[in-house]
Amino acid sequence: MILADLYKIRKSMWIKILLIITILCAVSMTIIAGEIEKGNLDINMAGIGFLLSDANMISLLGAVIAGIFICGDFDNKTIHDAISGGNSRVSIIVSKTIVFIGAIACILLPYAILTGIALNTGNKYNMGNNSIGFLHLITSEGGKDFDASAVLGLLTSMATLVIVHAAQQSISILFAFLIKKPVIVIAVSYAISVINPRLTVLRANSEVFDKICSFTPFGGDYTFITSGTEADYVIKALAVSLIFIVLIIGITYATFRKKEVK
């Protein structure tokens, strides 16, 4: 199943288009952050910079991937054929999840590469208070000297960010299997991503909610990881994200296990 899904993605045009979009956004985001720091651009441009950042783009594009990749399979009956061909429903969900995470990592790759290039220049970057994810890495680590251990820390934090983003977007998988309509899946998933930053305010007002959020990839905590973040925290971020993905797979299976495939 995984090989078949990979083959389908490799043959599809949309993954190439999404990759081009993230390349353009990553380049633009980095340029804007650099120009704001130099004073060539007004700090008010930080809002636009954030719109082009990984956190925002992946919220939208992750949902688009789920919409095309999973809902599309319901539309063209590939999932029907997988089931009637003797594949278990759990294997279909797991395969979709693995390839979905792979696709998320693929379209995040330009951000990771641009972050590496930007930090390698030794320049400083600024995006005001709007920096999370890879954008946060650029703005907080820009201008620093990196030794081997710092580079390793940077690579670890990048990998962790990819997993955190993938975990956040994994909720789109549940919606895709549940709703099956790409437009609705994209709308609902993106709405959740928009609500996500607002959770910070709620967390400040409720200790219980704060605790609950800390066990999910949402709430912002795990998107501020840098090369200087302590190993315990990185491990916690990875563990929370991976457990969340497994949980989403479980919920998706529970809802899809006995569902009619029309």
Partner: protein
């Protein structure tokens, strides 16, 4: 005891309390082509969807290759090929890429099956043409090719000749008959095209309003449809002796209800009636019978209400 490729036992499927399939029991033997005949909404696709695992029965059970139970059925489904309602195709892929996708999905390592199947269904010349640009007939053919991947022992095809031109229909028919005869593949096929079914299938399953109305072989159907006089009388023994002695024919059949089907004298109705009258046969029914498949189907599903 016969071994069946597929058995369903009192299969029932309800939606919102309404039974769309009601106690359906069918048995499919190896190497036969079964035609599932029914009107729109009769339950053909629902039955096929249940067999394919796309839907779950409300009651009853399915036995595939002698195995039943959810896990076992899932394993046994690797031995079947399906095309239900519409072919499973990715629009932006070519015919070969679509076959490759399904080949990988089914875990078949042999790449040569792709070209072999494309040749078989006559789509080897489509090159880089995407499936979205295919005609309905080409899509149907490709869907059948996908169902044939992995040498399945049972093929379930829902309306496979839909959208095919006459030549395409003949080709698909020949292909299905060949597969059945040479590889002993069992085929369950649904269609509205009754004359086409008559030329393809070996056995008929007539379904109406979610119930199996009749299961019969081609020979039984021919028997049912054969032109004859149906004669009912008070003394069937006397009728039989008149037929043999006075009319010199043995081309008749006494039915379980003591009615007699006479296959001779079809063009001499008046002469026949006169002989029966002269021999004082007390006739209670004397009718000209014999159907086309359509007529027979209509008579089975409830007569004129459905014409």
């Amino acid at each position: 005891m016969k071994e069946y490729i597929l058995k369903t036992n009192n299969l029932t499927k309800s939606y919102h309390g309404v039974n769309v399939l009601n106690n359906v029991s069918v048995n499919l033997e190896a190497g036969k082509i079964y035609g599932l005949i029914g009107q729109n909404g009769a339950g053909k696709s629902t039955l096929m969807r249940l067999l394919a695992g796309l839907s779950f029965p409300t009651k009853g059970s399915i036995e595939l290759f002698g195995h039943f139970g959810e896990k076992e059925l899932q394993t046994e489904r690797k031995r079947i090929g399906c095309m239900i309602e519409y072919p499973s195709l990715v629009p932006n892929m070519t015919a070969k890429e679509n076959l490759r996708l399904h080949r990988i999905m089914k875990g078949i390592p042999d790449k040569s099956v792709e070209d072999g199947l494309l040749n078989l269904i006559g789509l080897s010349g489509t090159g880089k043409k995407k499936a979205k640009n295919f005609s309905l007939g080409m899509k149907q053919r490709l869907g059948i090719a996908v169902a044939l991947l992995g040498n399945p022992e049972l093929i379930i095809l829902d309306e496979p000749v839909n959208g095919l031109d006459p030549l395409g229909i003949v080709e698909i028919r020949k292909m299905l008959i060949k597969l059945c005869e040479e590889k002993q593949i069992t085929i369950l096929i649904s269609s509205h095209n009754l004359p086409e079914m008559y030329q393809t299938v070996t056995d008929y399953i007539i379904i109406h309003k979610g119930q199996i109305k009749k299961s019969l072989t081609m020979a039984e159907l021919d028997e049912q449809c054969k032109h004859h006089f149906l004669i009912r009388c008070m003394e069937p023994e006397k009728l039989v002796s008149v037929l043999e002695l006075e009319l010199n024919t043995q081309n008749y059949k006494v039915m379980p209800d003591n009615s007699v089907k006479l296959y001779d004298y079809l063009e001499q109705k008046e002469e026949l009636a006169k002989v029966l009258f002269d021999n004082k046969i007390n006739v209670t029914n004397f009718s000209d019978e014999g159907n086309t498949l359509e007529d027979y189907f209509i008579s089975v599903v409830g007569g004129g209400d459905h014409i």
